[in-house]
């Protein structure tokens, strides 16, 4: 029996498309209408509201809470100030990525970890010998992501917290619509936005207040289809798509390291110890075997391919996430990697793709070829390595003046 999030009564009433999917055992809306484009545009022009309750959440408390997380994740948690949130991956002994998520410091010895896959056992295993209390609070909090340019103004109407002074990747505990919530300036859209966590009993009140107030701000409930387009624009990786958890596969070929995923910046080898450090230290010295890059497809070339069939250019309306080959040459002889997800970006007017390629082809400006099947025939579409995020508006991090 699929679980229902604390917002289900509200989301179900709005989800006219009945387009749901399984997210960690919960029903999760893919799009509220049959077409996702209004939801997409809301993220980039007004604001959108996502139900992110299925995210796994853990509370870590106690004298060694920081040491536990520092042993587990690659980033230096000792540097995380109270009220700060850190994005970080965590790895196994071989330095292969298990998952990524955020570490939020809620108090001197009190942290919250969010994760995409169940992580209680891994936290417990790493807590060996430490004085720490770990609690799986996944079901104890519903989560909403309010994302888009007008999100701050909207949310500010409902809370006493001074959002104007809340920096990117920081959080504050304050009421929304009279309900105690935890508001962090984080998200999976690469835009200005907030994530709001609330206990189930207050969930519907918070939803209702946001939707009510949202009328003035063109708030749009949004689902996974729109989310996947914006996260690609933001250059954010998706588990099971752009990488596979090393706990979910035992095939080396499917595993990857933070360096290979472009997350080298999160690996703090200066830390005395964390799980996977030795392997990552060796990898850093040796150089990673692959690199994650952003590609922009040459749509003029693609247009020509279609023209060959007497057809106009066709572009994907939603994102795709089944890996396709990447080549160094147009003849598709020199296979150098795979493109793991891609989408047409309506806001950038670019065909953007996330790919993993051999490191010598990862430099900005490199010219590669991505396989594209047109009318049942494979073509190599020229593409250029560009900087990720593809879309990175200043408002994401900016403080209002």
């Amino acid at each position: 029996m699929p679980r229902r999030t604390p917002f289900h009564a509200r989301t179900a009433a709005l989800c006219t498309s009945q387009n749901w999917q399984d997210w960690s055992g919960y029903l999760s809306a893919n799009s509220y209408e049959l077409d996702h484009m209004r939801e997409y545009n809301a993220v980039r022009t007004t604001c959108a509201l996502f139900d992110i309750s299925p995210l796994f959440k853990y509370h870590v408390r106690g004298r060694d809470a920081g040491r536990l997380l520092d042993r587990m994740v690659t980033r230096d948690v000792s540097k995380c100030r109270v009220g700060q949130v850190m994005y970080t991956p965590w790895c196994d002994d071989d330095g292969k990525v298990i998952d990524d998520g955020t570490v939020a410091r809620l108090g001197e010895d009190f942290f919250r970890l969010t994760a995409a896959i169940p992580t209680l056992d891994w936290l417990q295993d790493n807590a060996f010998g430490l004085t720490v209390e770990i609690e799986d609070v996944t079901h104890d909090f519903g989560g909403l992501a309010l994302q888009g340019p007008t999100s701050r103004d909207l949310l500010q109407q409902l809370t006493g917290a001074d959002l104007g002074s809340l920096p990117y990747f920081h959080l504050v505990d304050d009421k929304v619509a009279g309900m105690p919530t935890r508001i962090s300036r984080t998200g999976y859209t690469g835009d200005l936005g907030y994530e709001i966590f609330v206990e189930p009993k207050g969930a519907e009140a918070v939803w209702d207040a946001l939707v009510e107030m949202g009328r003035a701000y063109n708030l749009q409930p949004a689902g996974n289809v729109a989310l996947d387009v914006v996260r690609i624009e933001a250059g954010l990786l998706l588990i099971d798509v752009d990488f596979v958890s090393s706990k979910k596969t035992f095939f080396e070929v499917q595993k990857s390291t933070p360096y290979e995923l472009g997350l080298g910046w999160t690996v703090k080898l200066r830390k005395k110890h964390f799980v996977g450090r030795e392997a990552l230290r060796r990898e850093k010295a040796r150089g990673a075997a692959s690199a994650t890059v952003g590609l922009v497809l040459d749509i003029l070339a693609l247009e020509k391919i279609y023209a060959g069939y007497g057809m106009p250019l066709q572009l994907p309306y939603t994102s795709w996430n089944v890996a396709v080959p990447v080549y160094a040459d147009e003849d598709q002889r020199n296979h150098i990697g795979k493109a793991t997800s891609g989408t047409w970006s309506p806001i950038l007017k670019q065909y953007v793709v996330i790919a993993r390629v051999k490191p010598q082809h990862a430099e900005l400006g490199s010219h590669l070829f991505v396989e594209k099947t047109v009318e049942g025939r494979r073509f190599a579409v020229p593409a250029e390595v560009v900087k990720m995020p593809f879309f990175d508006p200043a408002r994401k991090k900016e403080m209002p003046s």
Partner: protein
């Protein structure tokens, strides 16, 4: 600047053997022992005034011939024959003698067929044990990545394997993972014969004879014994403490320094290398190599900092099964007890060696069944020794000491702790014994019982496991103490293990110590 070439943590017999070999190879060696005396679990203690006991470890005669040859410890072993005296509930008895023909005659009283098969059994098991003995003396290959070096180190096995003959190679592979009960069922029909032999497959394990791997335990004992049979028989003059003192003396005369009352708090690790140790209240001592005689859990989690260990190692070490399940009961006796089964025979001869109360396979298995539910056996399997018969100096004139290994007494009782149960268990042991020696209670002057938690507290044996981790098939050879680190080395460069938790395992053999010393020397350059 290193104060020593090698610091060995713990002066148990394996630490002392390692010290002896390393000193002999010219290394400056320091042995640090927590307790006030050397010996670890192999000690002699005057538990009651005038009565001296091998409190914890028993079973002399297992010290490997190489160690005796190379280190020349000054010890005297008083051999016993029979190798086993096994009284039966009906008043009959089976004695196992060093002489196969004589044993066969004994067996005839229970089964003609078994008597006929016994010599062949001894012959085949002896051959298989030779291979097992060879295996014990080589470092386990680092499976699955077998290198040329591993193959070279396995070369000494070629002789015993070739001498097995083709058919017996298959027998070896078949027998190793078997239950000892199945093995004996294949050979014998008499319950008495089977029970008597099977006891030696379970004595060091928390298992009954029907569990797979107990045949290996039998071969392990066989490979080490000095009788050519499945167990040694005899005592070290002066008790087990005399053995470790002799090893300490040997190591000392080879140049090793031994300090007692020096508990090591932790190993100092710099850049992934062990560089010294911290002793309580002293300036740290530095050495090129640190060797731990402690069990693997203590070595990894207390001597090293578990925070810095890989998740995999933490998981493997945490899942080592220790599971001590034998209690030790020491009795001061006013005189030699009378066993019904002796008939008119001379007790001074018949009782010199080990005495086994293990009448049948079913008896052993039922005794074990209790462990599965966290209970102690109401009718335990008993292994008795009266060392004062061969070594009268252990007790006042005319009096005797008896030490009993009683199984099964699991480390954890599911209902309540041991505190309230120890004496009741010991009463059960004496009751059981009284079925074979009815007047035993009349001759007991004093009694001291040590259950597994006591052995843990007194001798640092985790969970009271004398072998620093059960000698089961999933914890032997390349998986001992943990997979990937079976060659005495650890992930911390310069930190080695030499205790019974390493290959080949428990028993006062000195083989882990010797193998570890060889690993240290191999890496030295």
């Amino acid at each position: 600047m290193a104060d020593y070439d090698v610091i060995i943590i713990g002066a148990g017999h394996n630490g002392l053997v390692a010290a002896g070999y390393l000193a002999k190879a010219g290394r400056r060696v320091l042995v640090l022992e927590r307790r006030e005396r050397v010996g670890g679990a192999a000690v002699t203690e005057e538990i009651f005034p005038g009565f001296r006991f091998s409190t914890c470890a028993d079973g002399s005669g297992y010290l490997s011939a190489e160690v005796r040859r190379d280190l020349k410890p000054d010890l005297e072993i008083l051999a016993a024959d029979p190798v086993v005296f096994a009284p039966q509930p009906d008043g009959s008895r089976l004695a196992i003698w060093r002489d196969t023909a004589r044993t066969a005659q004994e067996i005839e009283r229970f089964s003609q067929a078994d008597a006929e098969r016994y010599p062949a059994f001894v012959d085949l098991m002896g051959k298989l044990a030779k291979v097992v003995g060879g295996l014990m003396r080589v470092p386990p290959p680092d499976l699955p990545d077998v290198g040329l070096r591993d193959l070279r180190s396995l070369l000494p096995l070629a002789g015993p394997v070739l001498s097995l003959g083709r058919k017996n190679v298959n027998q070896l592979l078949r027998v190793l993972p078997m239950p000892v009960a199945d093995l004996l069922d294949e050979w014998f029909e008499s319950d008495v014969v089977k029970g008597t032999i099977a006891a030696n497959g379970v004595r060091d394990l928390t298992w009954g004879p029907k569990e797979a791997g107990t045949a290996y335990a039998l071969l392990y004992n066989w490979a080490l014994s000095d009788t050519g049979l499945f167990r040694s028989a005899g005592v070290v003059k002066g008790g087990m403490g005399a053995l470790t003192e002799a090893l300490a003396g040997a190591a000392g005369s080879l140049g090793a320094e031994i300090r007692t009352g020096a508990p090591v708090k932790r190993v100092i690790v710099e850049d992934g290398c062990a560089v010294g140790v911290e002793v309580d209240g002293e300036t740290p001592l530095r050495a090129r190599v640190i060797v731990s005689n402690a069990d693997p859990r203590t070595s990894f989690f207390e001597l090293l900092d578990p925070y810095s260990l890989s998740a995999g190692i933490v998981r493997h070490v945490r899942s080592i099964k220790y599971r001590g399940s034998a209690a030790r009961i020491h009795l001061a006796l006013s005189e030699l007890p009378e066993f019904t089964a002796l008939g008119g025979e001379d007790p001074a001869v018949m009782l010199r060696g080990p005495i086994q109360i293990a009448p049948t396979l079913t008896y052993l298995q039922r005794a074990y069944d209790c462990v599965k539910y966290g209970e102690a056996s109401p009718r335990p399997y008993l292994d008795l020794l009266i060392p004062s018969l061969l070594d009268p100096g252990l007790a006042p004139d005319g009096r005797h000491v008896m030490s009993i290994t009683a199984k099964y007494a699991p480390y954890r009782l599911r209902a309540g702790g041991w505190e309230a149960r120890t004496e009741a268990f010991a009463d059960g042991v004496i009751d059981t014994l009284a079925e074979y020696a009815p007047k035993i209670r009349d001759v007991i002057l004093q009694r001291r019982t040590l259950v597994p938690p006591d052995l843990e507290a007194d001798f640092g044996l985790p969970e009271g496991s004398p072998s620093h981790g059960e000698m089961t098939l999933d914890q032997f050879f390349h998986m001992r103490p943990i997979p990937g680190y079976a060659r005495y080395r650890t992930p911390t460069t310069g930190f080695y293990l030499c205790g019974a938790g390493t290959h080949p395992g428990g028993g006062v053999t000195g083989i882990p110590g010797r193998n570890a010393a060889r690993a240290v020397l191999e890496d030295w350059s």
